[in-house]
Subunit: 249 residues, 2 copies
């Protein structure tokens, strides 16, 4: 297959998700994704189902969080959560706090945000978004008999560029990188440096089908069956650039 038509439909009709809900069963109920389709779910809805919401008033900020919060003009409770979810601070300048999370992802605020939640509450990232994707995939299979690939998506800011795009923070049933290195181009020449982060591109594509105020927690992508595998695969952690190869730390 060298060119294909894609369809992306929003995951509408999902009821409000609560801790302990089997998200995969709920998805199968409203969307009936086929075995060659890809289900993309927002980090927020996955975090809700996994009980990863926190009330800021319940957080006791430590000394480091209080200091950092004062220098950045932020809520000490939020900073405490960000630090406790992180193993390294990469940048803390002006109002930007970029860390490496305990799961090894470099991003702003350890991925913690408050949009579309009750006042005073924030959502932490899933503890292991690849495990989340595998579990949701298994739940969809259990409910429907078909095993679409599953991607957990979150918005991501970029060095050098304004605005966020959605990326894959977890996945199952899809190799997150489509590696063309060593393969040949149309002229038969070896491709030198083409490794496409398809899981990130799919997360971005799915994001276009919903608005930030819609309450729609994801989408189903059709037309990429060649990327869907029976094996769960390495997960989105394979998209992390090893620290030793990272020129921007």
């Amino acid at each position: 297959v060298t060119a294909r038509e894609l369809g992306i439909r929003p995951l509408a009709g999902l009821a409000e998700v609560r801790e302990g809900d089997q998200l995969g069963r709920l998805v199968a109920g409203v969307a009936s994704p086929a075995a060659d389709e890809i289900v993309v779910l927002s980090q927020k809805v996955v975090s809700k189902s996994e009980g990863r919401l926190r009330k800021l008033a319940d957080v006791r900020p430590g000394e480091r969080a209080i200091e950092l919060a004062a220098s950045m003009g932020k809520d000490p409770a939020l900073i405490e959560l960000i630090l406790s979810e992180s193993r390294e601070v990469v940048r803390a300048e002006r109002d930007v706090l970029i860390t490496e999370t305990n799961q090894g992802r470099v991003c702003a605020n350890a991925g913690i945000d408050s949009s579309n939640l009750d006042a005073g509450w924030v959502a932490l990232l899933p503890l292991d978004a690849d495990a989340s994707a595998r579990r949701i995939r298994a739940e969809i299979a259990g409910a429907s008999g078909s095993s679409p690939a599953v991607i957990v998506a979150d918005s991501f800011g970029r060095a050098w560029r304004l605005g966020q795009t959605d990326i894959a923070i977890g996945c199952a049933g899809i190799a997150p990188i489509d590696d063309w290195r060593g393969r040949r181009d149309q002229r038969g020449r070896e491709l030198a440096a083409t490794a496409i982060a398809v899981a990130d591109e799919i997360a971005a594509a799915a994001d276009l089908s919903r608005s930030k105020d819609s309450g729609v927690p994801g989408a189903v992508v059709a037309g990429l069956g060649h990327l869907v595998n029976a094996d769960d695969g390495p997960g989105a952690q394979a998209l992390r650039r090893p620290v030793a190869d990272d020129l921007f730390r």
Copy 2:
């Protein structure tokens, strides 16, 4: 509109593009994009139509290029082209050369690559990809009477993450950032930091519909008519993070 179905169809059937070809007319001939659709074209095909191919054997590397090429194990002619297309070297470590191009974009190798070209040839980026997008849009309108939005896409490596995703290096008829800051979420709370780089997400989505060896130079995206404007708008240069706000230079 809060959720919408998207369709992406590859731009198949385009003849080999040569310098001076009116790319917009060729696109209108094979795809008939509607006024509420978005045409995504690869940088490579735009560069071809604009005569931005260079033969490495014709390039006379200067002293700096020869030194840098030796230390990086690269072709001095290629390095000379990269330097002449750039106004600043951001990183030159191991085999990675990241520069700010003369147009103000930070990327590897000044966006120069050789895939899907005759041996010994490389393609430079368009001199002004926003101007390219505006021109192509006008050509489509001239040929078909409808003015879809146009995006010029190129692959882009990311700090911290492996693999490339396509982004928008030029656009016309679409605001590249969908800015939700100050707007309200589902709970009526103000959204603090949600500015979505929709042009980049659309470029990424379109990339999924074609393979790197397909010769398919782009795609048409349907279902995002709410993002298409009569005005050409600020172009993809609005996606560049100002140097003063950049923590990773």
